[in-house]
Amino acid sequence: MRKDIDIFSIVKKLQAIRTLPVILLTITMSLILNSQAFAQDFGDSVFILPRMTVLILLLVFSSAVLLYTKWAKAGKKLFIRKIAGVDAVEDAVGRATEMGKPVLFIPGIADVEDIETIAGIAILGRVARVTAQYETPLLVPVRYPMVLAASQEVVEGAYAEMGKADSYDKDTVRYVAGEQFAFTATVNGMMMRERPAANIYMGGFFAESLLLAETGNAAGAIQIAGTARPEQLPFFVAACDFTLMGEELYAASSYLSKEPLLLGGLKGQDFVKVLIIIAILIGTLLVTFDIGDWYTNLFDVP
């Protein structure tokens, strides 16, 4: 069972130690007040005022996500549509277990600062729990050392959580090569030699997407891919059994967890999307009737 720790609960705990927030606030305020800016004109010299539109949108977005998360926490039922690609993940691992073959998972080939990689690693955590449970071998080749460290942590944690810490092999997650096509060649070789029964690609992919997916297809593996890069989607759609498109990648880990707290975030995101669609429609109408300059200027952020 997941312990309910988030930043709000941490802040609650910290409130018990009353001095700590006061000290933090004092340090922050003194740093701000000591800066040159406060000696000069406050306002435009400190804030980048034209960016305030972003601040407003950020607040609306954050409020929506937090509100839905709160409702989810309170037990309100939230409908989330089925994502076939995510549902297929467990089936794919099950198939690999039956066949006695490994599962190959690639958390993209971007570095850890890329949010797609984080999404990939989050899904890896869920997949590793299932492979640990069934004791199915897992192969996770990575391209960047930072991704190696983060993925190792996640996989090790998943095995420990399932009570299978002894089955965890330190080389499950392995650094393969920093160069894109050296990485691809190695992984393709791995697919042809070790013949994984399931290949899961989740994260940021580039020109190697089709090279990987076609080789996996030739090796007869069931393939599930997910990326937020529109330019690589056609290749995955052509060569994989299931593909998560764009935001589905970010939703996948929450969806897999089935925890209401995480699903609330998805609903908040959907609400903002509706607002954006309305904003686009209003903009289109205003610009069509040539009265939309003020409106487009609102969104012209430097």
């Binding site: 800016a37 972003v54 949010i115 944690g157 997916a213 999307k273």
Partner: protein
């Protein structure tokens, strides 16, 4: 503590990056915080590289030691890692860090071959070994695209047929021979494809995916910053 401290660090780092976007970096320290954090990230990344080298050496050295299948290639991998890295890291001149000691041991004639400059050993390996290999791998896409298109491009239903028809038009339009063929029907046809297919339908779809993905990324970031999403920490 193993969960609480990382959540606090993630919250502070994430919030600082967001807040710094709204402040002038020239006038207030918080506006410059983003730069500082990004520099820290580069430094941490540099140290993490050691982890990568250790991993690659350990996995391959074990296979070489056991003489498992393909051990020779694994040995070549390990040799290649050091063959590219070591000469590139050596001091280029006597003034470079450690240069005076290095060139008191080794001859000065080595200078031109070390580092990453033109005519260095690294440069030679890059131009004549690495680059052709990369180009070959990229060129293989042509073969893979052909086989994937043959297998997957089927007019199974109305949507797939529409996609097939549009893709054929775009493939013809993107090459001179195809464009000449399209002009047999109408001189305006290539222009229409550019305007309506690429500038119209394509842009609409791309924007839809980009906006959706951006919202997904923002929502995921928010969940991470607030500690709601912790799977990436192995929790």
């Amino acid at each position: 503590m193993r969960t609480t401290i990382p959540i606090i660090v993630a919250f502070l780092a994430g919030t600082l990056l967001i807040v710094s976007f709204f402040f002038h970096p020239e006038t207030i320290w918080i506006g410059d915080a983003k730069e500082v954090i990004l520099q820290w990230m580069t430094i941490v990344g540099g140290f993490a590289l050691v982890l990568g080298v250790v991993s690659i050496v350990r996995v391959n050295a074990r296979a070489v030691q056991r003489k498992s299948e393909g051990w020779f290639y694994k040995l070549m991998t390990v040799i290649s890692v050091f063959a590219m890295a070591i000469p590139a890291m050596m001091p280029v001149t006597k003034e470079s860090v450690g240069g005076s000691i290095f060139y008191s041991i080794f001859p000065d004639s080595w200078m031109g071959y070390l580092g990453t400059g033109s005519n260095s050993f690294y440069d030679w390996l890059f131009n004549y070994v690495d680059a052709p290999m990369m180009e070959t791998m990229f060129a293989m896409l042509a073969f893979y695209i052909a086989s994937a298109a043959y297998r997957a491009f089927r007019a199974r239903n109305a949507e797939a047929t529409l996609l097939l028809f549009t893709a054929t038009l775009v493939m013809l339009w993107r090459v001179p021979m195809g464009e000449a063929f399209l002009r047999l029907f109408s001189d305006n046809l290539p222009g229409y494809i550019n305007t309506y297919v690429m500038g119209g339908f394509n842009v609409a779809v791309q924007r839809g995916i980009i906006i959706g993905a951006a919202l997904g990324a923002a929502s995921m970031s928010l969940r991470i910053i607030l500690g709601i999403e912790r799977t990436y920490m192995g929790k």
